[in-house]
Amino acid sequence: MMHQTPLKIAVASGKGGTGKTTVATSLALSLAKNLTETVMFLDCDVEAPNAHLFLKPEFSDQKQVEVLIPRVNETLCTHCGKCTEVCQFQAIAVLGQRTLVFPQLCHGCGSCTMICPTNAIQENPKSIGILQKGKAEQIEFARGVMDIGEPMAVPIIRQLKKWVKSTPSQITIVDSPPGTACPVVESMRGSDFILLVTEPTPFGLHDLRLAHQVAKELNIPTGLIINRDNGEFKELDNYCKAENLPVFLRIPFQRTIAEGIANGHTLVDILPETILSFQEICQTIRNIVK
């Protein structure tokens, strides 16, 4: 048997709710039907993770994501203020004879601990989220879930990507968060291909341009899936032509599909003919990244 090189595809969109998870889960399910290749699904939308609702994995392993938050030993502290000077996030302050830490602002970089001349700062781990992995039938499934009230998604995504390195798969599907800011970039980084998903509306096109720009900056090739297509929004087709952005699939605009998804079904359940389309898309992607 010919051995394929590992392939990592990130599914992204810019705008939320265009169908990233719908596409990513159905792509994974379609590829898993081909039993010669192992498929890993990585849900990197750690703020609003949803893929488990469709793939229904059983988790067998989990790990806390922690950042190290400084704790000041007041008996050793001379209130020199060096820590305050080096902290870029105003997370530590000297007020008279006390040194205060603000854990919500702390990025856990350790700069204050390293600079302290009297070694008065120790560090305690603080949870910011959790990683979970398991199996959804043949699919290796892993996700990160951010704790409520925590601001930083990037460290969770980064640790999730590291954590699954011990489970090598031939194909990895990454479900990215919406937007174009740092969590999206962290999700896309290291992928061989970015599969963009949009809807043919002004909102969809506006945000597709931004996501496409991120992909170009990362120098990763892209293709597009148009969801809820009714063939009426010519601006999108014009953009794809002008940008040489290949359109791999058009999912029709049908109330029955929206209802099916609303009832927890996957696209490949609702439209089984898309299984073949997704398998072909993967082959096309292999040819592009080769």
Binding site: G14, K15, G16, G17, T18, D45, E47, A48, N50, L53, F54, V86, Q88, H107, C109, G110, S111, M114, I115, M146, I148, G149, E150, P151, M152, A153, V154, P155, R158, P177, P178, G179, T180, A181, C182, P183, V184, V185, E186, R189, E199, T201, P202, F203, H206, D207, L210, A211, Q213, V214, E217, L218, E232, F233, F253, A258, E259, I261, A262, G264
Partner: protein
Amino acid sequence: MIKQLVILSGKGGTGKTSLTAAFANLAKRNIPPIKAVLADADVDAANLELVTQPTLLEAHEFIGGEIAIINSNLCMSCGICEQVCRFDAIIPPNSNHPAYQVDTVACDGCAACVYQCPEEAISMVSQRAGSWYHSDSLYGDLFHADLIPAQENSGKLVTVVKQNGRLKALDTNAPLLIIDGPPGIGCPVISAIAGADLGVIVTEPTPAGAHDLERALQTIQHFHIPALVVVNKADLNPAMTDAIKTYCAEKQIEVLGEIPYDSSMSDAMKLGKDIIAYNPDLPASQALILIWNKIIKYLSLDGGLT
């Protein structure tokens, strides 16, 4: 006293911006009219400008955080920066690049390497992270922004947009600031909800919508901000809509109303309009008017609409 109304969802694409634009229109149509200032807090995918026909009045640069840069003339390749960096942002010399360098995407801007480098070869440089704008829109002053794709500090940019919206409301005696929130529950969301008087969470009766509603509610309650819920596309899955209502009842969160699934919502958007401007007599528009009346009552603003 300016009231801050923020529209949120958790999951993207449930209709935050469509509802925000409709509320902005309803504020203007309210009897008596309520002068509102609009702020688009979804800075990495800003869409409110697409349905409010803005005329740009001012544009400002936004300088985000700083990132580290290594001066290779001073670097002795000791590797201490790589050891101290907790963000894996220092790339050691390799065949493509013979000196230590900073991975600008991974760099968190903490400056730990700057202080630990024995050669003082590392310094911090500011990054232009985007722009923010003040525009005149169909429904009053609009504050919006563009984050340069792949930039950090979206939370900080959200704060800038909101603060300027608030100042404008103070200057012009506008009693209401309507904030179109970002999806998710992380840093830009926390910035968007800070100081809000009311959060309206827009959900949809899908497994993902219901799941993310729960996380959005927990987040907004974590920051002690009152929350109300709107179920958009409610008839797509009536059983799930009922389950959402039961969940909200258990949590003692009021469901303001249900909006039926209507493709006119996206037809309106394609014409650059909100649903009320498109056709105020549609069932979805009528549902929004009822919801609006409850919101202004909750915020102790005057009047209403029939």
